[in-house]
């Protein structure tokens, strides 16, 4: 049980930590002050959620949550690849923020029923806070969709670019079968993926945007071609993928990451590696 629990907590915590780090890169650079504050605050929330997941994991494997967050080699992180991509432009940032928070809501909803009481109550608490993130993302997407055509076009392009990699959030975790059997993860990743596709298709449709879910079957090859080629070789075989999900989005859950992650990891862990165990 503990191996499956740690696998689940690591995937959850690493997604929040790594995307939280990307969000924090907007501090001082966002297009206007309120967004500078908003992304800094969302980053603080996400990194705080990672700390909470890592605290539970540290209770199982020992060590401190900081050690878990910053003391691992790149290949030991289990975040989905979409979380490690650079912020790009404002459209990409918002498209990823929007899709990630839909995905996070789908899995938190399931985890509220986890057989692990501490994880279940944590998921419940985190979901209440994440509603603010969803509102923030929804607000921006609606505003841009109803605005001038230039912004609308950029947003559609960004959603198309990020959508397929977002599916990697639902790549089965290591020890998935045990996690599901024990009720730690009450809903299998494949089912969570189906819920995510359904809900985002509905959301896109309501916004009058093309439903990316329909693109998956006939344009998979194109997405693979545009987003592959920079994977760092992992030393483990990838776990079984849900059908219809392109492989370029996958691998994060078994420690395969892109060069983008190596660059992020260098920055994110620099202080910890320079002064392990320092406190201030």
């Amino acid at each position: 049980v503990s191996k499956a629990l740690v696998s689940l907590l690591t995937a959850l915590g690493d997604d929040e930590l790594v995307l939280g780090h990307r969000h924090s890169e907007w501090t001082g650079y966002a297009p206007h002050m309120e967004e500078d504050v908003a992304f800094s605050s969302i980053a603080q929330d996400e990194i705080g959620h990672a700390a909470a997941y890592d605290s539970v994991a540290a209770g199982v494997v020992g060590g401190s949550r900081d050690e878990l967050a910053f003391g691992r080699d790149p290949g030991d992180y289990r975040n989905a690849i979409v979380c490690e991509r650079p912020n790009g432009d404002w459209a990409y940032t918002l498209a990823r923020h929007w899709l990630y928070d839909y995905a996070d809501d789908v899995r938190l909803e399931a985890l509220e029923e986890s057989s692990h009481p501490e994880l279940a109550s944590l998921a419940h608490k985190i979901r209440r806070e994440e509603r603010y993130h969803l509102i923030h993302a929804d607000t921006w997407v609606k505003r841009i969709v109803r605005g001038p055509v230039e912004g609308r076009t950029k947003l559609i392009d960004a959603v198309s670019e990020v959508y397929v990699e977002t599916l990697g959030i639902f790549e089965p975790i290591e020890e998935e079968a045990a996690a599901v059997a024990e009720g730690l993860l009450p809903v299998p990743s494949a089912e969570l993926l189906a819920r995510f596709v359904e809900r985002t298709a509905k959301a896109l449709d309501e916004l009058g945007l093309p439903t990316e879910a329909q693109r998956l079957s006939d344009e998979t090859a194109e997405f693979e071609a545009s987003s592959s080629g920079d994977l760092i070789a992992g030393d483990r075989a990838p776990v079984e993928l849900p059908a219809s999900t392109p492989s370029a989005a996958m691998g994060g859950r078994s420690g395969r990451h892109t060069d983008d992650f190596k660059e992020l990891w260098d920055v994110m862990t620099l202080t910890y590696r320079s002064h392990p165990g320092a406190s201030w």
């Binding site: 504050v37 990194i47 705080g48 603010y132 509102i135 609606k142």
Partner: protein
């Protein structure tokens, strides 16, 4: 010389009533409803703290201050403080006293239950201005200087203010 009154548990609660929230030093952890339970067995006090927000950076300070305050209580030889998210801290845990103190501090108490969509732009429900009491306020940003604060502007007295976020 102080005279000990009540049970050890009651004295622990009294001590906790003096432990202030490090980020909002006008209210105590008891006013904020952050203390889930207190128990004392053979002189060992156990205190369960419910953080207001998961990522609140003040939690380690609160744990430290709670432990120090409880350790000084007569009849307590050791203290165990732990945090929990069960039940999740919700803003309805703030006491009436706590709401009054927040307002006096210049921080609007939370309204309603969690973020409520009032318009298509989707900001949290309107807060009442802590300075003039007007409800003619405008939500500026659901994210503020700490995870627990949102930014507002009072259109009546023309003051910016912050609200403790409903969660």
């Amino acid at each position: 010389m102080s005279v000990s009154v009540g049970t050890v548990e009651e004295r622990v609660w009294d001590a906790l009533a003096d432990v202030l929230d490090p980020e909002i030093p006008a209210v105590s952890v008891v006013d904020m409803g952050m203390i889930r339970e207190v128990s004392v067995e053979d002189g060992v006090a156990s205190v369960v703290v419910l953080p207001t927000f998961t990522g609140c950076p003040a939690v380690p300070m609160i744990e430290r201050d709670v432990a120090a305050a409880v350790r000084s209580v007569e009849g307590v030889s050791d203290v165990r403080v732990r945090t929990s998210f069960d039940p999740p801290w919700t803003d309805d845990r703030i006491t009436e006293d706590g709401r009054r103190k927040l307002k006096e501090f210049g921080l609007a108490p939370p309204t309603g239950k969690g973020p409520v969509l009032i318009t298509e732009i989707g900001l949290p429900a309107v807060a009442r201005c802590p300075f003039c009491g007007s409800a003619n306020t405008r939500a500026e940003n659901p994210f503020g200087p700490t995870p627990c604060r949102a930014l507002y502007y009072c259109q009546a007295c023309r003051n910016p203010f912050e609200q403790f976020k409903p969660v």
